[in-house]
């Protein structure tokens, strides 16, 4: 979920030059503001039998208008094009999808929405989803053909450039079909029969039911498809619909009278409407929300809480601090094509985890030290004994590293990475890292580039650097190892520009492919074992698991973390009075 990084400013991730997917957001307000010291493990459970209406949230009442502050406005609300955590979360109010996530005791559970959670054929190449029915905001019935049309629409990737692309890889003829506008609606990968939605695959895709929770899979009637215009006024199927939308600054939602609560196992319609406001200084809005004067008592700010605001959220106000998990893991990768294993070990030995962490200004609220690839929110995560020197802590051991280097006959090995030379923070962090590595006997050449160029430079795998390329962090698209390892560690990952360590090992490829075919329940533990195996290759210096913390107004209830997004879980929120 790399693309999600733009959503919310990720100061810390950017500081490390990582910026994987910088999702950040918050969660859980309820009084059980217990110690979120350790990130909880998302249970990858699926509840195929969940039915509507959703269970009531204790203390919930109807009415009121909730204000949501954010920093960067989403650039699109076209469900096909949404790949950012904030617009995805807002989409949960607007768009019903074949499947969806419920949050139970802080854990995401996949439940049915417009369809059931699907059945797969014996050859694992045909999935059948049974459509349950529903209505659009205009009162028209949703047809199963609309679901199919929306999926076909997502293949027009030349028009909807930002959306997720798993369907292009996994669906039958996904590489050839270019969407209904160019290739017509005759597409072998998606078919309908009666109330069945049938998806045919080129290769097994055990996580498909999770993927179907993306807004991309919400039904779109062909007659209403206004292509590029659709993003400004999408047709709602969820509990709320567009009232007014000013791109770049504000969005107002109002109740959708045609949403049928009895068919929806997760969503509620507690408040009368939502007011999303973007662009204000987050520190300012967070302080307003924390102070909760007047209307601000009915507001939340979904940007991760600023350290200065954090200092004020004490005493009675600490209950307004909503903490939770995010699906991200952040660190620095080493290019295995250019740096031999022995040298990579020396880098890890010398690495100044503590200094980098402090210089980046990370806090316990925003970042938990990490020692694995997977974040704890992914089921199957195991906190195994960290691989030596990859524990995300310590000030580095220059002497030990020097010895390792000498042993490898690589004293003075040249290391190079890109950093943003227009931000004091990133300069300082780069300097701290360079100092420590230099002390250990490396020749260090950090390359400063402008903020505007940084992303492109770091994504260029042929660039003259051998550390810290993009992505520097990753977030689960859905909570299984399947949205991590196949994406990041196969040989083809290099070509796709999303590799950690540029590993090109046939054996590893095979192993990952095999695991990817297993159903989620069976693969969980195996992913964790693979996690350790890959860590032992010393291609990833783990920094931290992203955490989220936001402020909610004193009158806001039901504010909980959505661990799949790292955002507040909007469908359950209400106003206390």
């Amino acid at each position: 979920m790399k693309r999600w990084k733009r959503t919310v400013a990720v100061v810390a991730a950017a500081a490390l030059g990582t910026a994987g997917c910088g999702v950040r957001t918050p969660p859980s307000a309820t009084p059980q503001a217990s110690a979120p010291s350790d990130i909880d493990i998302q249970t990858n459970s699926i509840d195929p039998d969940a039915t509507g209406p959703a269970r009531e949230v204790p203390g919930a009442r109807q009415g009121g208008v909730l204000t949501v502050y954010g920093q960067n406005p989403p650039d699109t609300f076209d469900p096909t094009d949404i790949y950012f955590v904030d617009s995805n979360e807002i989409g949960k109010l607007l768009f019903r999808t074949p499947t969806q996530f419920d949050v139970r005791a802080g854990k995401p559970v996949l439940v049915p929405d417009l369809t059931d959670v699907g059945k797969v054929s014996d050859d694992k190449l045909t999935w059948t989803f049974t459509f349950k029915g529903g209505r659009y905001e205009d009162g028209n019935d949703i047809r199963v053909e609309d679901l199919a049309y929306a999926i076909k629409r997502s293949f027009a990737h030349d028009i909807y450039r930002n959306g997720p692309t798993y369907q292009l890889t996994y669906f039958k003829d996904g590489k050839k079909y270019k969407g209904p506008y160019r290739d017509g609606e005759d597409y072998a990968g998606v078919q309908t029969r009666g109330d069945k939605l049938i998806i045919k695959l080129d290769k097994p895709f055990a996580d498909l039911p999770f993927y179907l929770s993306f807004p991309m899979f919400t039904p779109i009637p062909k007659a209403s498809d206004s292509k590029q215009e659709y993003k400004n006024r999408p047709l709602a199927t969820g509990p709320y619909r567009f009232e007014s939308f000013t791109p770049g600054s504000e969005l107002n939602l109002t109740r959708n009278p045609n949403w049928a609560p009895e068919t929806d196992p997760v969503r509620h319609q507690y408040v009368d409407g939502w007011r999303f406001r973007w662009g204000a200084d987050p520190v300012k809005t967070q302080k307003q929300v924390l102070a909760s004067n007047g209307e601000d008592a009915n507001a939340v700010d979904y940007a991760n809480v600023d350290a200065s605001v954090l200092a004020e959220a004490t005493g009675a106000r600490s209950a307004q601090l909503v903490k939770g998990d995010s699906p991200c893991s952040i660190g620095v990768q080493i290019d295995s094509r250019k740096v031999p294993l022995a040298v990579r070990r020396a880098i890890a030995k010398a690495y100044p985890y503590d200094q980098v962490r402090k210089a980046s200004g990370l806090t316990d609220v925003s970042a938990e030290r990490s020692s694995t690839i997977l974040p704890p929110s992914v089921p199957g995560f195991a906190r195994y004994t960290p691989v030596e020197d990859l524990d995300g802590t310590g000030t580095g051991d220059p002497e030990g590293a020097r010895a390792l280097l000498r042993e490898a006959d690589a004293e003075g090995f040249a290391l190079s990475w890109y950093y943003d030379n227009q931000q004091p923070l990133t300069q300082q962090v780069s300097q701290v890292r360079a100092d420590a590595l230099e002390q250990a006997g490396f020749t260090v050449k950090p390359i400063g580039v402008s903020s505007a160029e940084l992303r492109a430079k770091k994504s260029d795998y042929d660039a003259p650097v051998n550390m810290g390329q993009s992505p520097g962090g990753w977030c689960s698209d859905w909570p299984t190892g399947g949205s991590w390892f196949p994406v990041l560690f196969r040989t083809q990952s290099i070509g796709e520009g999303q590799s950690w360590g540029m590993l090109g090992e046939k054996k590893l490829d095979k192993k990952i492919n095999k695991l990817a075919k297993l159903p989620a329940e069976e693969s969980e533990e195996k992913w964790a074992a693979l996690d350790e195996e890959i860590m032992k290759k010393y291609v990833f210096l783990p920094h931290y698991y992203d955490k989220t913390a936001i402020v909610a107004g004193s009158n806001v209830g039901g504010c909980e973390a959505d661990p799949t997004m790292g955002m507040p879980f909007l469908p359950t929120m209400f106003l206390k009075k």
């Binding site: 402090k358 210089a359 806090t363 316990d364 030379n421 004091p424 400063g448 580039v449």
Partner: protein, 321 residues
């Protein structure tokens, strides 16, 4: 003003205008206090390495052991080791950074003032005295400079300068970038500072050159250069001193302001503007991090301004009876 009143009571002053002015300044407590303050900061800047060594610190060493792991805030306040405490996140000694930080402020202000004064006075003298086509060209130049957008140039110059010296943002070390920014600050401030003075001087010269003593000098065949330096310049001391006294504090503020905006000096160079910019976000937790450089800039600018006022009064013939 009190001192002036006292002066008035005395017998008429004698000596050159500069002598008289100095004598009056010595009797002005405000001027003395301000001069003392300015001198203090100048000494701090000059002896910054000594002061830092006295404290046993230097402005670039990180003290991560003094930074809290959970919040990245300093664990210590003002201590015998770290007189002003340490910086959040990086743990650099704030006293050393403060002492070294006085240098760019004063240096930029001093150099920019010197350059803009020299250029301004020369252009003004030549334009006013020679007149004719030369005057028209120079006056046009002055008008042009005065009409250029100062902030835009301040922002664009560092990048342009980088290109001129053959560096791209790609291969420049932070220290090199900071050095270039330093020169670009001086260039920008000097470029935009001379024009006002030049216009002022030209006006003065236009009225002076019709006076008898200039006419006499010309009739006697005194070379133009000599007329300019020996006859005209001494009569321009007052406006020049006034202009300088106003320019200095202005440049100190401009340096800190541009740096705060991100177009001045950059990390890792210690500078008050840099410190203020990064201290703003930590104000709630570490207030003195922000207060010390802000108060220093304020004190310096206030002292320079009041000193300028006093100097102007001292040179003003109207208060000299």
């Amino acid at each position: 003003m009190e001192p002036v009143a006292r002066v008035r009571a005395q017998t008429p002053e004698t000596g050159s205008p500069t002598r008289i002015a100095l004598r009056r300044l010595r009797r002005d407590p405000t001027a003395l206090l301000c001069a003392g303050t300015v001198l203090f900061f100048v000494l701090v800047a000059v002896f910054a390495p000594l002061l830092a060594a006295l404290a046993g610190q230097d402005p670039l060493t990180h003290h991560f052991e003094l930074i809290d792991d959970g919040t990245s805030l300093p664990l210590v306040g003002m201590t015998p080791e770290h007189w002003f405490g340490v910086e959040p996140r990086l743990g650099r000694d704030l006293f050393a950074r403060w002492a070294f930080g006085a240098r760019p402020s004063l240096l930029v202000a001093a150099v920019a003032t010197t350059v803009s004064t020299l250029v301004g006075v020369t252009v003004g003298l030549v334009a006013g005295f020679v007149g004719g086509r030369v005057d028209r060209v120079l006056s046009w130049l002055v008008d042009l400079v005065l009409s250029l957008p100062y902030l835009l140039f301040a922002i664009a110059t560092p990048a342009t300068l980088m290109a001129v010296v053959g560096l791209t943002p790609d291969d420049a070390e932070p220290s090199v970038v900071s050095e270039i920014r330093f020169y670009s600050l001086i260039i920008v401030l000097s470029t935009f500072g001379w024009a006002g003075l030049a216009r002022l001087i030209r006006g003065e010269v236009l009225s002076l050159r019709e006076r008898e003593f200039i006419a006499a000098a010309r009739v006697l065949g005194v070379p133009t250069r000599r007329v300019l330096t020996r006859e005209l310049l001494p009569n321009l001391v007052a406006p020049i001193v006034v202009s300088v006294s106003m320019a200095l504090p202005g440049y100190v503020v401009a340096e800190a302001g541009l740096t705060f905006l991100g177009v001045g000096l950059t990390e890792p160079t210690p500078s008050w503007g840099v410190t203020i910019a990064s201290a703003v976000s930590a104000y709630e937790s570490v207030p003195h991090y922000l207060w010390i450089p802000v108060l220093s800039v304020t004190a310096l600018v206030l002292a320079l301004s009041l000193l300028g006022d006093a100097v102007r009064d001292a040179f003003d013939p109207k208060t000299r009876r």
